[in-house]
């Protein structure tokens, strides 16, 4: 017997790029993540033909879920046509033969960087969020071994201290995107750098959310119908980004997350960040139900509360 005979015949890449061992590992980790909502599950994280830090975590999850019958939507900052979203979509379809869509409600797998769509996602849909830094405690400890222990002990005192210090200094929470959230009353997660506007959408969602960090080799999940609350003191409620008075320049819709476009005269114009939703409004004049209505009311009444500025 020769070495030649022992070696596998040269073949093209596996279906959906990842080999069967990698897929099996990912699927097991995903199941574990779903079973323990918010718990960061370590995984090996294979190198992909896409640079690390460009969505390889989300991509590995998508590649382990995708099948020929899947319908995939990929967005970056809310846009389907952003260059990186286009590139990831091209890779997923090239390797899997899956169909693509820009319609958030038609997608079976929706891979996203930094946004959750405006339309309410439904059961059977999987939202895959790309995560640069899975560790919400990174700001209070850079050491992941320590952070791991703190999660195990539900030791989130330093996170509360951080918020308290913000209130003392600025009379409000000043965290931008990646606002920490408590999942199922147990684990604090970084919801990935989605704006605060999108945080509430994870609460009691009908869809499954999978969050995956390829470089940091951790994945975690928010299963359907799970409680997700932002870290907030009971007397100083969490606030989403103010979208009041922002009028989309193409659809003239309001109270959705807007991109601010600086103008030469010093003013700003606004347009919908969710390009698939904008496209639907322009083409059909209508779209599915949204998490926030036209007055900016969130669909779970009383989840968001009016601002309170502490007097310290």
């Amino acid at each position: 017997m020769t070495l030649q005979e022992l070696a596998q015949p040269r073949q093209d890449y596996s279906y959906a790029f990842l080999d069967a061992h990698a897929k099996r590992e990912l699927r097991r980790r995903i199941l574990k993540g779903i079973a323990i909502p918010g718990y960061q599950v370590p995984y090996a994280s294979r190198e992909l033909p896409i640079a690390r830090g460009w969505g390889t975590g989300g991509l590995q999850v998508t590649l382990s879920l995708v099948g020929p019958e899947s319908v995939v939507k990929v967005i970056d900052q809310g846009a389907d046509d952003s260059v990186n979203a286009a590139n990831l979509r091209r890779f997923i379809t090239r390797m899997s033969g899956a169909q693509t869509t820009t319609d958030a409600l038609k997608a079976t797998i929706l891979q996203s960087r930094h946004r959750i769509p405006e339309e309410i996602m439904g059961e059977g849909q999987a939202l895959v969020l790309q995560v640069p830094d899975p560790e919400p405690l990174r700001g209070v400890t850079a050491d992941i071994s320590k952070a791991h222990q703190m999660h195990a002990d539900s030791d989130y005192g330093q996170m509360w201290l951080l918020l308290y210090e913000q209130l003392v200094r600025y009379r409000q929470y000043i965290q931008g995107a990646s606002y920490p959230a408590l999942v199922n009353g147990r684990y604090v997660i970084s919801p990935s750098p989605i704006p605060r506007w999108d945080n509430p959408k994870l609460h009691q969602a009908a869809h499954l959310t999978l969050l995956s960090a390829g470089r940091e080799k951790r994945l975690y999940a928010v299963p359907p119908y799970t409680n997700v609350f932002p870290l907030e003191f009971s007397d100083v409620p969490f606030q989403v980004e103010d979208q009041q008075g922002r009028d989309c320049r193409t659809t003239h819709i309001q109270n959705k997350f807007m991109n601010e476009l600086p103008q030469e005269d010093g003013s700003s114009q606004f347009e919908l960040s969710d390009s698939g939703y904008a496209e639907k409004l322009m083409k059909q004049g209508a779209a599915g139900a949204t998490y926030y209505d036209d007055q900016g009311n969130f669909y779970h009444a009383d989840y968001l509360k009016p601002p309170v500025k502490p007097t310290l």
Partner: protein
């Protein structure tokens, strides 16, 4: 507008075509030339790419126009699709067909110092005559040996072990499949030694050098002594699955370094070794990496020399990938921080932006972080 370049698909295809047009035609000749004339670059890329294939490394370099991080990523992405069909037999230093082997710890060592091929003592003068085309008929030749050198040499550390200067070690008998594998395991800390040595072997040369240099310069053990540095060729020996006989499937260029110190691991008398090895010949990386290996064993290493810090921050594919990802649009996260900054400004200055805002800059920094 590059961020949401409308028609993103076309844009990215054109950008790639532009790049390829700039590089010109790729030919087999170019690749073979790179492979033959730039062996140290090939070795660096193979080591960091953790795939031994001079031809694929040359192709990766040609395809990326010599962008080393891109070339390493190409190899890694290709490697991650390849099945592991077998495990090679372990290689020990005294079996390596050694072409260069030096020790700074002793004037002479059993088997002798072997300088081998090196630029260490060359004068770093540009060969400007080459540009003038004056050297056309000068083909460099290695000096003829008076006595044929031995192909193999004992390990310096073995002599030190016999002298009881180093603790003696027994090679563990381990089933190859049970060796922890940094490419297929979830890495947790403290990491098994196998993970650490594999990570150092695949590490970014520049990254390892920066952290290792910080140790040498004064943040760590200060003066590691190079106990042994070795470059050579190792036989890739496989066990035949039917006959069980061991045969060589080929030779690979390998290098290894050991540094020695008496003040490494706390509470232990005598000397300790730091070790690193990689595919290909890469001396600077290994001296730095073996220093870091020793640092990681010490009781209270500098924060930049802990296992977690070193392993995370010297990963070439992850560090370079994350660094360049900042080119991607971040306008949603920026909008989120802008909202917070504006609210703070509004709270303290009532929206009057003409006032002095001593805290605003500080706030912006916090929100960004």
């Amino acid at each position: 507008m590059y961020v949401a370049a409308r028609g993103g698909e076309d844009a990215i295809q054109h950008a790639e075509q532009f790049y390829q047009a700039m590089l010109g035609k790729l030919s087999l000749d170019t690749i073979h030339t790179i492979q033959q004339q730039l062996p140290y670059l090939i070795d660096k890329v193979m080591g960091e790419g953790s795939l031994y294939s001079p031809e694929l490394a040359a192709l990766a370099l040609a395809q990326t126009g010599g962008d080393v991080y891109e070339a390493v990523l190409l190899l890694r992405a290709y490697r991650s699709t390849q099945p592991r069909i077998a495990y090679a037999e372990p290689v020990s230093a005294d079996q390596v067909l050694t072409v260069r082997r030096i020790s700074a710890a002793f004037k002479d060592i059993p088997g002798g110092q072997v300088l081998g091929p090196s630029l260490d003592y060359s004068h770093r003068l540009l060969r400007l005559d080459v540009l003038d085309g004056l050297d056309d008929d000068q083909i460099p030749v290695a000096p003829e040996a008076e006595n044929l050198a031995s192909p193999t040499y004992p390990a310096v550390a073995d002599w030190q072990r016999a002298q009881k200067l180093l603790p003696s070690i027994e090679a563990e008998q381990i089933e190859p499949v049970s060796i922890p594998d940094v490419t297929t395991d979830a890495v947790l800390f403290p990491a098994p030694r196998a993970h650490r040595l594999q990570a150092l072997s695949r590490a970014d040369t520049g990254g390892v050098l920066a952290l290792g240099y910080a140790s040498m310069r004064g943040y760590g053990l200060i003066h590691p002594t190079v106990n042994e540095l070795r470059l050579g060729y190792a036989e890739v020996e496989m066990k035949h699955p039917i006959t069980g006989e061991i045969f060589s499937a080929g030779r690979v260029r390998v290098s290894q370094a050991e540094v020695i110190t008496s003040d490494g691991e706390s509470g232990k008398a005598g000397y300790q070794l730091g070790f690193a090895a990689t595919m290909g010949w890469n001396e600077v990386k290994l001296i730095a990496a073996s220093t870091l290996d020793m640092e990681m064993n010490s009781h209270e290493p500098h924060p930049a020399h802990t296992e977690e810090f070193v392993m995370y921050h010297t990963e070439p594919v992850e560090s370079s990938g994350f660094c360049i990802h900042f080119k991607l649009p971040h306008y949603v996260t920026f909008a989120s921080s802008l909202d917070s900054v504006r609210k703070v400004i509004d709270t303290f200055y009532g929206g009057d932006k003409s006032q002095q805002q001593p805290q605003a800059a500080e706030t912006a920094q916090q929100v960004q972080s």
